[in-house]
């Protein structure tokens, strides 16, 4: 994308929404959707703040796409209301909601040139010619596709088509931008670049609210201000990205957002002012971050693979021992898999003192207390 003008100036030219300056918040108020008698989205109550990116993630069938389509107006909720800004849009058809949408397969109109694709929404809403021309060139500039204006979609690569699709959605100054797995159809290489571009877009257009649906948690972790994790049609957890990652509230979240090691532990006692709690795994005593547990409760200790290291010689606390089962060297990192009392623990090490250790050897691992948290053990609850 062009870096000619400073960020805020660019934001001025393309950031103002038609509906009163800023992007709008989106509220789901007890929204449920049924299809052919089966409930595909259980009653959902969720707030998306104005100007933030909320990622809706989850496995297929989790209801995330249904929730997005409900906001778009493509499916009608069986219960509940949907609000965009101050407007209750539940009964409004899609073309009256002031949205923009980008889909997985770009859906660029093949019979129109790029510039006409981008102009489509404005023409459909009856905007004057000068405004259309202005907005089209702005939108194309933001996504860096100005020199492709008179090409046809079939002449463009996947990544280029997706950028045009984004420009087309931005040109109508939507209150909310809906992205439905926009990068799934792209090659891994292109996808990485596009994630950065979307992040940059969010910085350049701070007023634009973005609802981003994806099954790829790394996209969500990179882009989202807040994440909502869906599972089996219901909301499993939601919160600020970093919070959700570092202190996952439940097992599903821990395992879906990054990989997690889960060790069954029992709470021993609350420890001092640091907010740490002492837990016992078998004979071993460990310290980790606390969230108000009481002694005697069973929990799962969650620690990410990259937060485990081979225990340094002098370190006495937070050691956990296991038998090395696999060591996979992958250039930048080494993956280790250990058997700790019949639980498989994964470690991602970037620096190993003397090459990969031998399998079947006993190793001690260490983690910092602040890097580990406790999760309710649903099985034993």
């Amino acid at each position: 994308m062009s870096a000619a003008a400073p960020a805020d100036e660019r934001a001025q030219t393309v950031g103002a929404a038609t509906f009163g300056g800023a992007g709008s918040n989106v509220s789901f108020d007890n929204v449920s959707v049924a299809y052919r008698g089966a409930v595909v989205l259980k009653p959902l109550t969720l707030e998306v703040a104005a100007g933030e990116i909320l990622a809706l993630i989850g496995p297929s069938g989790s209801g995330k796409t249904t929730a997005l389509r409900a906001v778009a107006g493509f499916v009608r909720p069986a219960t509940g209301r949907i609000r965009i800004g101050d407007t209750d849009v539940t009964d409004l058809p899609p073309y009256r909601r002031g949205l923009g949408m980008v889909v997985q397969n770009y859906a660029l109109f093949p019979h129109m040139r790029v510039e006409n694709n981008v102009a489509f929404g404005l023409q459909a809403q009856g905007a004057p010619k000068e405004l259309i021309a202005q907005r089209v060139s702005d939108a194309l500039r933001v996504v860096g596709m100005s020199s492709f204006a008179s090409r046809y979609p079939r002449e463009l690569s996947g990544g280029q088509q997706q950028r045009v699709a984004i420009a087309r959605a931005l040109a109508v100054r939507p209150r909310v931008l809906l992205l439905d797995e926009p990068l799934s159809a792209l090659d891994a290489q292109i996808r990485r670049g596009m994630v950065e571009e979307i992040a940059k877009l969010h910085r350049d257009l701070p007023d634009l609210t973005i609802l981003y649906v994806t099954h790829d948690q790394s996209e969500a972790l990179t882009l989202a201000d807040r994440i909502a994790i869906m599972r089996d049609g219901a909301l499993s957890s939601h919160g600020r990205t970093a919070e959700l990652y570092r202190r996952p509230p439940n097992r599903f979240t821990a395992e879906f957002l990054g990989r997690a090691n889960l060790l069954p532990v029992t709470v021993a006692q609350m420890s001092g002012p640091n907010g740490y709690v002492q837990v016992r795994h078998g004979e071993t005593s460990l310290l980790c971050a606390s969230a108000g547990e009481r002694a005697g409760e069973k929990r799962l200790l969650c620690v990410r693979p990259q937060h485990l290291t081979l225990a340094p010689e002098g370190e006495r606390s937070n050691r956990i021992g296991g038998v090395l089962k696999e060591a996979l060297w992958q250039g930048e990192l080494t993956h280790l898999v250990l058997d700790v009392d019949n639980t498989l623990v994964r470690v991602v090490a970037t620096r190993l003192p003397m090459g990969p250790p031998k399998t079947e050897s006993r190793l001690d691992l260490y983690f910092a207390p602040s890097e580990a948290s406790l999760i309710p053990d649903e099985a034993s609850a």
């Binding site: 778009a72 107006g73 493509f74 058809p93 899609p94 073309y95 009256r96 909601r97 002031g98 949205l99 923009g100 949408m101 889909v103 397969n105 859906a107 109109f109 093949p110 019979h111 129109m112 040139r113 006409n116 489509f120 929404g121 023409q123 459909a124 809403q125 699709a165 087309r168 959605a169 109508v172 809906l178």
Partner: protein, 267 residues
Amino acid sequence: MLAWSPAARLVVWSLAALLIGVFYLAPLAVILLSSLAEQWNGVLPTGLTLDHYAQVLSGDSGEAVRASLITGFVASGLALLSGTWAALALRLQSERWRKPLGLLYFIPSAVPSVSVGLGLLVAFSQRPILLNGTIAIVVIAHFVLISAFTFGNVSAGLSRLSPDFELVASSLGASPAYRLRRVTLPLIAPYLIAAFGLSFALSMGELGATVMVYPPGWVTLPVAIFSLTDRGDIFSGAALTMVLVAATLALLLGLERVAARIVGSPQ
């Protein structure tokens, strides 16, 4: 491929050539030849002449060309309109009714064309609507028979259209009418053109219903050809047949050109 050795391939190709030649090429060639023949008593015609063409293109038979072309264009145009309308409207129905309703539109093509003609004759030879002996009834007969094909073609085209296009257009603020005009119809244009071509060809060759309802002043090409051959005038019949074939093929080719140009044209 199946035939590996050169010998096997030769055998297979000879068989294919024989079949294709006997069934498809010979008949076409023979009609062309006979339309140009002076006299044909032996194995080959005695001479070539354009007299038969001159004869058929003037007078009554010339009228037949006009009648067929007009009926073809009008009936095909109306059938395209009706079939497209029905195909688009069907998408707005609930899932349960879509298939049964769609089936209803195909039924006119499943019954013998003669019965369609008979029905029109029986229905519109009496009050309240009197149509027998008019040109309209011929056009109507063709229309009824062809609409099933246009409906089928357009439905197939619509089902191949990704729903994303119309959904995104809607999200960008396009009302249903605007969407139809600028997204849906342009994207199915190739199917519309193919449907029109097929309709026209079917109309040009339609005999069963026409022969039941046509008025003396509106003789179509197939009916005229039958009259000629029935009374023994086979060379003129052949010439008129070639005219029919030429007109049909010319239109089909022309439409293909139009379709090719539309697919790549700017908006």
